[in-house]
């Protein structure tokens, strides 16, 4: 029988809510990367909206990262690159923004299911922000943002 204690997990995933926070951070890394591309490709009509969303996701990424550090967990690093739209026409760019927001929304919905009220508050505010972003881009609104297809 081994008496060796379990090795420490540098991601801190044994703590409640930390796995969900890491998922949210993954989504935010992808959103920051994606919106930097969308902003560079956007027509005048969407340039400002994409820039605002880039700044908002950068702030959300930092908030999630801080929450992880406060829980003694090591925040996951961003990937070198993320998927980008094949085309740069307006519809493709907006569709990609929709995808980024929906992925982030699902991550925050998952986080809202943890037991820590502080993390639930972060999740609620962030999920609301993704819904507002979709509204600002005139994307269709479903009754249950964050759930797949915004439906139960």
């Amino acid at each position: 029988m081994s008496t060796t204690p379990p090795s420490p997990d540098p991601t801190g995933s044994e703590l409640p809510g930390v796995d969900s926070l890491q998922d949210a951070l993954h989504a935010e890394h992808a959103a920051v990367y994606g919106y930097s591309y969308l902003g560079a490709q956007a027509s005048e009509r969407f340039e400002e909206a994409f820039r605002e969303r880039f700044n908002a996701h950068r702030a959300q990424r930092d908030a999630v990262r801080t929450a992880l550090v406060e829980r003694a967990a090591e925040p996951v690093a961003g990937a070198a690159a993320y998927a980008l739209p094949d085309d740069t026409d307006e519809d493709s760019l907006v569709n990609h923004a929709d995808l980024l927001e929906q992925v982030a929304a699902q991550a925050y919905l998952e986080l809202a299911g943890c037991t820590d009220p502080e993390l639930r508050d972060l999740a609620g505010r962030s999920l609301r922000q993704t819904a507002l972003s979709r509204a600002a881009l005139a994307l269709p609104l479903g009754p249950f943002p964050g759930f797949p297809g915004e439906e139960l």
């Binding site: 809202a112 639930r120 508050d121 609620g124 819904a131 609104l141 943002p145």
Partner: protein, 164 residues
């Protein structure tokens, strides 16, 4: 002897406390908590949804048909919210007395309803969902409240614009 007297007082005091304690649990002023904190909060959220639904219905009735498309969509989403919340009530809920009425207005519509007032009500509802989601015990209910609050915030944004 003196020590014995103190000891006897202590015993009497203990007996008195025990008697009062028993009265506190079994007397006429005691009642059981038949409604859990989550159910209480759920009922409050349902009451708020019913108020919003009544206000949308009143506003839509007062407008021309070609002006109501967007508002009708908002109304349908609120009806979905209410249905999802009602579904979360425990099966025995119908046999339990209703909770105290919510502090907000009743399900009747405001007499001078207009779009801006509805937008402000959506903002308030969204803020309430954000608070409620940190208070419930059930994680699935917290997720539902977070989602509904996000939808209501979107309604407020679409009605009032980005600067409100």
């Amino acid at each position: 002897m003196r020590q014995d007297a103190v000891s006897r007082r202590t015993v009497f005091a203990g007996a008195l406390v025990a008697t009062l304690g028993a009265c506190g649990c079994q007397g006429t002023r005691w009642y059981p908590h038949e409604i859990s904190p989550d159910e209480h909060l759920l009922r409050s959220a349902i009451a708020e949804e019913e108020t919003l639904i009544a206000r949308y219905q009143a506003l839509i009735r007062s407008l021309d048909e070609d002006e109501t498309g967007f508002l009708g969509d908002c109304l349908k989403r609120h009806e979905r919210h209410r249905a999802a919340l009602v579904e979360r009530l425990p099966e025995s809920a119908e046999t339990v007395l209703p909770t105290e009425p919510s502090r907000g207005p009743g399900p009747e519509a405001e007499p001078d309803e207009d779009v801006t007032r509805i937008g402000v009500a959506e903002q308030a509802a969204s803020t309430n969902r954000m608070r409620q989601l940190t208070e419930v015990f059930d994680p699935a209910l917290a997720q539902l409240l977070a989602s509904i609050g996000a939808c209501e915030a979107s309604h407020a944004y679409l009605i009032l614009g980005p600067n409100r």
